[in-house]
Amino acid sequence: MAGLNDDAQWIVLMGFVVSFSLFFIAIVLNQSTVIGQTTAEAVLEFPKNDIRDVRDVIIRSEFLDDDGIFFNKSNVQKDIRTLSLSRQNSVVNISSTPPTAENPYTTVDIHYNNGVTIYNEIWRSK
């Protein structure tokens, strides 16, 4: 170490440490503004309420009468399919099995697909 002045090494070292830690703190501060962004976007992206609402209305529609001059059940389910496609960007498919003598339960097959999220359920009345 000929010719090298090794005085004040601690001061120089501390200078480095302080300046680098300032940068790390700046980066942490920079990131703190985006806290929760991914969570919020994921919640907005996932159609939880759409699925819940459409499932609810499909099950309610299943117990409407389907005779006379109005064909309530068919009309309501047709409306659900059309409106889902045009306003919720989702394909909804419904098929159901009415209760029989051997199987006293109503079974509803619900399919929901909006291109990103797919939801399938076989619902059975208890």
Binding site: A2, F23, G36, A40, D56, V57, Q88
Partner: protein
């Protein structure tokens, strides 16, 4: 032959280089200034609030099979009841002051010809000029009415309509 002179200068040079690189990184990074609105957190809260309010209005009293308030409102086209009920629900806050959420509500239906149409159900008396940062919530209602209004018996019966609400904080 390796010369050991000038070590401190070399270290200082490397450190200065690193500091400059980091400065450049931070400067380039900060051209996109993030505000709370960009992170969609308030959107998420508004959407959850709005869909909860709609769900609440679409629930019959005591969870019976009767009519929900929303069903009655849509069938009778009662803009005033929808306005007061919805604003009471979404603007409720702890304490005495109220929140300032505004809304526009539409009913979307399938008409006799099979095409999808919308009609305004209610609004908060504040015009929607498309500059607002609005979120959309919706709920299904089964109504005993054929939209648009028609009195002939063959065009009644039950139909599903979608109540869509745009809401924003003003």
């Amino acid at each position: 032959m390796v010369n050991t002179e000038g070590q401190l200068y070399t270290i200082e040079g490397i450190a200065a280089g690193l500091i400059m690189l980091m400065t450049a990184y931070i400067v380039v990074n900060s051209t996109s200034v993030y505000t709370l609105g960009d992170t969609h957190i308030s959107d998420m809260q508004l959407e959850v609030l709005g869909s909860d309010a709609l769900n609440l209005m679409n629930t019959a009293p005591n969870s019976t099979l009767g009519r929900s308030p929303l069903q009655t409102i849509v069938e009778t086209d009662d803009a005033e009841t929808f306005r007061s009920m919805f604003l009471t629900l979404v603007n409720n806050r702890a304490g005495s002051d109220r929140d300032h959420i505004q809304f526009v509500a539409n009913v979307t239906y399938v008409d006799v010809g099979g095409s999808v149409r919308s009609t305004v159900l209610s609004d908060s008396l504040r015009p929607f000029v498309s500059g607002e940062h609005a979120v959309r919530v919706s709920d299904w209602v089964i109504v005993e009415k054929r939209f648009p209004d028609c009195s002939a018996q063959s065009c009644s019966g039950k139909h599903a309509v979608l109540v869509e609400v745009l809401l924003w904080r003003d």
